[in-house]
Subunit: 253 residues, 2 copies
């Protein structure tokens, strides 16, 4: 009987990979996943059987992992947190349908949203919404309805898959909706390749981003400030975004 | 000139502490934080000056850290992710007011919500909302409005601070609101002390939890399924909750 680890690898390098995830990889005979995420882990994968799978082949990848895990120790790797826009759900569904009776463990990881947030300061400090603008698996009208409600909550919104070559207009459409509920100076943070080579960060207002949304790509996370979010300054320099938790209403500091 | 690390320690033990967080602690002369979180880290803290601070003293704690970090390397530790209901925002606010010009780095961590989700299977697989039921810093009418909108989104909701001795009725009130938007068999997962000693997990329907909400305490995370969430079974055993990402609409498996 085998073991299937669904291993969250975090946002990039092994600096943000937990010891629990490392231990699972070390114990595994097979490591299966998207090349992009596996390549970041190469120092940990000596002597393992590596199975590269490509984007779009998630169902096939999950089936292959389930098959191998009948007799082997297998790690299915997934970037960020496997349970947030990752491989966990499809793998568990496939295991269920296949009647798999081995051990399965989902190992959590640093999400792309909280990694990006940490680079920006503290934009997600309290309540927040996590939404994806990809309409590959969710119809656009459902996404639009969720955006409408999320913006009415007046709390920060972290956007995954904000824009790609195949979906160049979804971010613009989301910002149009945003401008019906929030002022033009709403602070928005964009982090590209957070914690990976080529990391970049931008802090803009809603009005500025609406005119420059082509700087956002599929490796970006966009964090839209809530009604209480504000720019975090050092002197005249914009450092990031803070969403205060409300201590200023109760204490002096 | 000093360094201030705002270190996310994850949900509990050092199994889920990232190498980046460990390295920051190792480099620090002072470690300051709530006793509950510091105690989990004791294997890493030999020879450091430890400053325990109590719950409710967050502003004072942040001020102390900012003061020490003028001349020292200091780690302010915060459970889960420091940027999600943690110490990051108040520390950054205090640094800003104090005109601090040293280095500051926010180090992200595994959030309590994604740790709990991993124990339940994959309940937060796609879009989701993160809300706290604590009305210590946010007025209850604001929380209620956010709950109303969140439940209309029909996506999963992760509840922090769902219930405590001081706030025994907030979860019940939230479930009352939920029952206006979702059916009585909505799956809800409760994880107590996720990844810590005494870990427990419950999967219930909305109707069942409404009658038993006293099993939820301040060390619990409650994850309310969205319209597409369902129980994850192995034979007749309930294993957890899955929110499918929609692959079943496009593929056979």
């Amino acid at each position: 009987m085998g073991i299937l680890y669904i291993v969250s690898t975090g946002p990039g390098g092994i600096e943000y990979l937990t010891p629990r995830a490392s231990a699972a990889l070390e114990q595994s005979e097979y490591v299966i996943g998207n090349r992009f995420y596996i390549e970041h882990l190469s120092p940990l994968l000596d002597g393992k059987e590596i199975i590269f799978s490509s984007m779009g082949a998630e169902v096939e990848r999950a089936q292959r992992a389930a098959e191998l895990a009948r007799d082997h120790i297998v790690s299915m790797v997934s970037g960020g947190d496997a349970g947030v826009y990752g491989m966990a759900s499809i793998v568990l569904e496939v295991l269920e349908h296949a009647g798999y009776d081995g051990v399965v463990e989902v190992i959590p990881g640093i999400t792309a949203a909280t990694m990006a947030a940490s680079r920006l300061g503290s934009p997600l400090s309290g309540d927040y919404v996590t939404l994806s603008l990809s309409d590959l698996l969710t119809p656009w009208d459902v996404i639009e309805k969720r955006l409408e409600l999320a913006f009415q909550m007046e709390i920060p919104v972290a956007l995954y898959n904000p824009r790609s070559r195949g979906r160049p207009h979804n971010l613009g459409k989301a910002l149009d909706i945003l401008s019906r509920y929030r002022t033009k100076d709403t602070p928005i943070g964009i982090v590209k390749n957070a914690s990976r080579p080529g990391e970049e960060m931008f802090i803009m207002t809603l009005a500025q981003l609406a005119d420059n949304d082509d700087l956002v790509d599929m490796h970006s996370i966009v964090i839209i400030g809530g009604a209480e979010s504000r720019v975090w300054q050092r002197g005249d320099d914009v450092r990031g975004i803070i969403t205060p938790r409300g201590y200023h209403n109760k204490y002096k500091y």
